[in-house]
Point group: C2
């Protein structure tokens, strides 16, 4: 009867430093990737950005690639609730699409505020889309589209392809937007929303 329901976080010092160390490595890695570029960065460069010893790195990650995956995964984890809110607050399918894209474009603008090398060099050449959180984002998108189709808000189309198309458009138009200045989030979101909204009708054709 002593320890009540309030043990949301049974956190001791052990747990706390573990989380802090992991976070320190991720933060350092972000900085190093931005400064040196992903390919040029080494595990030692990353660990040097923390007050940890080289051996400690390997208690948390197997390699530089795993750190990158974790960063991507964290990004996706932060983005998912935003996407979910856009879905729940949307008054229409068009509204959903638009606010989802605005949210995404806003997100990548924020994510690229860090000064340093060009954005392309901060990533590995091969971008993995198969981390758990990335997959979850894809599922979220796909689910929204399937719901819209089921509710009659969108025509019957291949939801898998459509979700992929949405993601591909978001990525490429998003990158293009980042290359322009100022970053006109609304213009980009208007563009892709219009494209997809009408495009859906076209994608549903059977002839």
């Amino acid at each position: 009867m002593s320890q009540t329901t309030s043990n949301v976080e049974p956190i001791g010092k052990r747990e706390k430093t573990k989380v802090a160390n992991r976070q320190a490595i991720l933060v350092a890695a972000r900085g190093v990737f931005a400064e040196l570029g992903y390919e040029a960065a080494t595990v030692r460069d990353i660990i040097r950005g923390t007050d940890l010893a080289s051996g400690t790195f390997y208690n948390y990650f197997k390699s530089k690639e795993e750190v990158f995956d974790a960063l991507a995964d964290d990004g996706a984890r932060r983005f998912r609730p935003i996407l979910r809110m856009a879905r729940e607050n949307a008054r229409s399918f068009e509204d959903y699409l638009h606010s989802a894209f605005v949210a995404y474009f806003h997100f990548i603008v924020q994510d690229n505020l860090l000064e340093g090398r060009p954005i392309e060099e901060r990533r590995p050449h091969i971008l993995r889309m198969d981390t758990p959180e990335m997959t979850a984002v894809y599922q979220e998108v796909r689910q929204s589209l399937e719901d819209a189709i089921a509710h009659g808000d969108a025509p019957r189309v291949d939801a898998d392809y459509l979700a992929c198309a949405c993601i591909g458009i978001a990525q490429e138009v998003g990158s293009a937007m980042l290359r322009r200045s100022p970053h006109d989030i609304d213009a980009a979101a208007d563009f892709v929303t219009g494209l997809l909204l009408k495009g859906l009708i076209g994608a549903a054709r059977k002839d």
Copy 2:
């Protein structure tokens, strides 16, 4: 009078082996990336797949990444004339879009016939937008779209964003198609053509 006009290629043994060695490295690299995955592969692994010495590698490429870029660049170089032909032979804008996507999907199916690791882990053909040949492909796409707009075949839209959207769609839907079996190129091409053709109208809206 002996050697006539036929010296189209003033090729000596020097030039010939240089081309052959470069090609041997690229072929070996493709195999190694497919077998071990890009990240795990080393320069030594690649050179071991040829009959060259390790030092020779550095006469041709600075690093593993440069080999990867060269492979991507070669892919783009091979694809560009295909895309150009699609444009020149098209009877309508819709026809152009469709045949261009068919060509691209066909291309990536061919490019991934090599057995080995999952495609995501090798991806020597990935569409990096910052190699010279990739930029040329982007320009080609964009030019086609601008022409279509100028001729009144497509509404007035932001050609840069539209080209990016086309490329993003092609990449993501293409990857999704590769994950399915059998690879239904026509279905995928129909899907994206329909999406874009109608989508254009939506993207042009001003309200």
